[in-house]
Symmetry: C2
Subunit: 303 residues, 2 copies
Amino acid sequence: MDLRQLRHFVAVAELRSFTAAAGELHMSQPALSQSVARLEKELGCALLHRNKQNPGQGVLLTVAGETLLEEGRDLIAAAQRAEERTRRAGRTSSGVSLAMGFTSGTPQHLVAAALAAADGIDGVDVYPVELDWGHEHQAIVTGRADLAYLQYAEGTPVAGHTVTGLELLERVALVPTNHRLAHRGRVTLADLAGEAILDPGSAEGVPGYRDLWLGEPRPAGMPIGRIVGPPARTVQEMYSFVAAGRGMAIASKAVADQFQRDDVVALVVPDLASVEVGVARLVEDRRPPVRQVFDALSRLSRL
Amino acid sequence: MDLRQLRHFVAVAELRSFTAAAGELHMSQPALSQSVARLEKELGCALLHRNKQNPGQGVLLTVAGETLLEEGRDLIAAAQRAEERTRRAGRTSSGVSLAMGFTSGTPQHLVAAALAAADGIDGVDVYPVELDWGHEHQAIVTGRADLAYLQYAEGTPVAGHTVTGLELLERVALVPTNHRLAHRGRVTLADLAGEAILDPGSAEGVPGYRDLWLGEPRPAGMPIGRIVGPPARTVQEMYSFVAAGRGMAIASKAVADQFQRDDVVALVVPDLASVEVGVARLVEDRRPPVRQVFDALSRLSRL
DNA sequence: CTCTCTTACGGCTGGCGTAATGATT
DNA sequence: AATCATTACGCCAGCCGTAAGAGAG
């Protein structure tokens, strides 16, 4: 079995269409058809129910197809992790080196704590990797990071990861200094009703991420305003967006404490639920250094 | 990255030699050299320290090489499991079907219990797969079985598996009916000193397996006799070996209770430690039906 | 001189693209 | 007719094998 074939099959299975998958994979549809046919021949069983009475509705998966879709996704992700981890190892001269993912919204002391945690473990070195907003999950799955700090609605589990909640962060609304509410230290959701808001984007694998940073669900009568994109990738981009007067943005108080600009003001919003910051690792990651650092950080939990 | 290349690299890394690995892989050595070189180029880092001052001692691994060796082994095993599971799914008409591995030495009621356990779980079907002696571990790793019954020295953990001990089995020595000890119901290790014994082979991934079925370690003055191969693959082969007068064999009492032949006698050996029978699954196997059946069987433990 | 890995080169296979065909609504 | 997949066929890249080269004991 070949990883390329597997990628081909997974694309077809996910999109339920050879034509669509061929586009996605940047290859011709007949070539894709052949590739999957070869895979089926090698496995000795059909993976897709073809063209019977559904040429319009695309293809359906067989039991074997369902199985290979699940297994194949895992396998492709594992292959990418292997590649990424090897590349990273190639960049370090010696010893074990772990990548700690964080975003510009992560409280600084936590990043420092991660580096400090490694000092206590012999032969293990942790280096920080800054990730784009909302890519923490993806970074762990693809192997760009071994561990990552994650922000999520309190108590929401994240599939595929082992997460330990560490802190709760109050939330603030960021507005320009010349905003009508800028002189208020704290505001309510009612005050913010109808305000244009920065598009938070969405985080693969983190359900509820988008709603979290839109301040949803909001009580009746405090509707959300226009959502303005594109999503910010970092805190700096978020501040620039706000300073330009295009709308407000919701952030954690930790962000506002760490980044100060005189053209942007942070207003505490007490009726927005706090967000939880946690440290995450892949459930199936059994590498001892990863476990050790993870456990050390877990012990710092204030929850 | 390609699985073929990965297999090439893993072979070289494990054997610490291109020449040896090329033989193992049934390909020419220069082709293998190129294949690994291509992989290194793709990854952008060296995996092996070449030909510096060790052309005699073979190659050494770099940090990246060590990483890719570990990751690659896992990945290749995972690929094989994916393939095997898909093939199995292709053979079942519908629904979830799990393979329960056992050997001819597994107490029958446990196999029956596994099938019965599935009846209580909706949409899950368990079917038995008979494995060769000592291949239980390998079967789980390669995906031939999702669960398997395993026999091991009491309390010995098996790497890579989650195991629940279920029962302890007394052990017996199998001898021909015309053997000098055949009329005795029970014997000691001292009685068996110097007897020729069937080669138990070894089980990949189960440390101590060989010693277990040789009755080792034996007290001083009760030395092991000649070890006669080839290893038996099933209980029937073992009985035939013994009946032919080529030597004795050590088995669990459960085996002797289940298989009766008038040309072979089972003698209880009280001073051999009991073996533990447990049910095993892969640590990282998170599929709910596997967990459910495993947990149901774990609840049957008498330990 | 032997052992081992690398470089060079030629041949072949396998996978892709284009074009044509089939099946269904 | 339009859509979606398969079959037919030619082309090319990549991989393997053979042969030659290079460095160390």
